[in-house]
Subunit: 305 residues, 2 copies
């Protein structure tokens, strides 16, 4: 486990709780001390940690912040080039491209557990953080079925359900449901505040809920949104198109019917969505990648391997 | 009290609880029976109710749905033209214009209590619904200071704080914090749903909160938004402009800094907003209307008269 913040630290705990032999690296010796004090195997020496992984052919999980990923990949390419490799970063295409630049693509299968809290750091970690969550396992052309299965099994062992998706498709989906909400919340907050104390003083539940995530730390929001530029641009263009049409409909016909009825139907679809078990697709069989992706697109989840 | 739904029914209860002599009208005899069974003075005969008001020069409160307002105003003009008049409808300029068409402008001062629940009807009413809420009292050119004070006193007696605002200014503010949130929630819901089951299956808190009000009944959302067309168009244009600039910034510079930092500042302004007592302005004194409006614009509230 490279990185022992909220996600990496929770994952180290969950892996050990699930009976695995697992150990972690963190740059900060304070974090390492805290992890050791809690009874975990942790080190602030990256090279030693990677050499140990290489000797065991252990599955390496990259759980460092995005700006640190490149340096960690360099070290992996030098000291642990034979290990299967995954990550838990919230964008996938950008990480996959970086992995390729370091020549590590053959042994890499990306991942994204849809879990988190507003807290951060080792002490905020929880072995049960991933229980009941969805964990996207990247299902890209050429994915090694053995590594794919190792990553999926880690997710299952942590109590998550696996959604198979191509990296770029994951990023486009995440833009719609995770990054666009931030963009619209910021927009609503600014437009409300432009009405001054009179407007803000009249604000009630719809404004409070609609702007909640505008209270997130700007640096985190920027890293998320800017790291998924292509996917977010698609979602923003769709939102702009909907709003432009709604504006015209209201100005010309005095009606908001088209937008409001479609929005109500969409929210209902979200509230009533169904998932299904993915069964009968074995990683490595002919066409398994396309079959997994297609199942993931339709709400399918791997709940057993 | 004309109309005994959630707002009118709560207001009848609150007025009586505050020691006033108050009586209500509702079109539905079931509602009237329910109100009577709870010990309130109610009738399904509009003309008789209005004649009684005229005899007492009672303050009439219009609390019927928007589509019924015009018919009620006709009856008031015929049977109770001498009564002071207010309303509790969520848009103000449209109601003020209808009141003028019926020749009732001199005795009318509009109102909008910012209170409600997701329920409706007499049985959902609560004498404490308005306690701690903000109640906008329309402060338009030519407002009769005696009627203005009567309306403000009713709000205060119900436990609310009075925000003085011109009708059109109220509507523009309400568009920013009450109607635009619905438009953006519908837009987010549609854009998320367009990602299919894969996207909806990955949605977490930011999407859930950002689309919550898209689950409101479309007819109610439409009535609210379409009844405030001019104000909403201004807010939508501002939102479109912000989104268009943010889209360009992301596409050309890979940055969301401008939007995200301004959004964070705006949400912080909302969270830390201050209000102040309005004192020393007496309705009827020279310049009282401008002074009241100016105080309302800066977060001022009348807490005593």
């Amino acid at each position: 486990m490279l990185g022992l913040g909220l996600i990496g630290g929770s994952l180290l705990r969950a892996a050990v709780a699930g009976g695995r032999v697992a150990w972690g690296y963190n740059r900060s010796s304070d974090t390492v001390e805290a992890a050791r004090a809690d009874g975990f195997d942790a080190d602030s020496d990256l090279i030693a940690t990677l050499k140990r992984a290489e000797a065991d052919k252990a599955l390496i999980v990259i759980a460092v912040p995005v700006p640190a990923v490149d340096a960690v990949l360099s070290a992996i390419a030098e000291h642990a080039p034979g290990c299967p490799l995954t990550d838990v970063v919230s964008v996938k295409a950008e990480i996959a491209a970086a992995v390729s630049r370091h020549g590590l693509a053959p042994q890499y299968v990306g991942g994204h557990p849809m879990a988190g809290t507003s807290e951060s750091g080792w002490t905020a970690g929880d072995a049960d953080l991933f229980r009941g969550a969805v964990w996207v396992v990247a299902t890209d052309d050429g994915a090694d079925p053995t590594v794919w299965s190792q990553v999926a099994q880690l997710a299952l062992d942590c109590g998550s359900e696996v959604v198979p998706a191509e990296s770029a498709e994951h990023d486009r989906a995440a833009a719609r449901i995770s990054h666009l909400p931030h963009i619209l919340a910021e927009t609503l907050a600014i437009t409300g505040d432009a009405g001054g104390p009179l407007a803000l003083g009249l604000a009630a539940g719809s404004f409070r809920d609609g702007t909640r995530v505008a209270g997130s730390a700007p640096a985190l929001v920027r890293a998320m949104c800017e790291g998924n530029r292509d996917g977010l641009l698609i979602a923003m263009d769709e939102a702009l198109d909907l709003l432009t049409r709604a504006r015209r409909d209201l100005a010309e016909n005095g009606s908001t019917a088209t937008l409001v009825e479609a929005g109500y139907a969409a929210r209902s679809a979200y509230e009533t969505q169904q998932t299904s078990d993915i069964t009968g697709i074995t990683p490595g069989d002919d066409g398994w990648i396309d079959a997994m992706r297609e199942a993931g697109r339709h709400g399918g989840r791997v709940r057993n391997l």
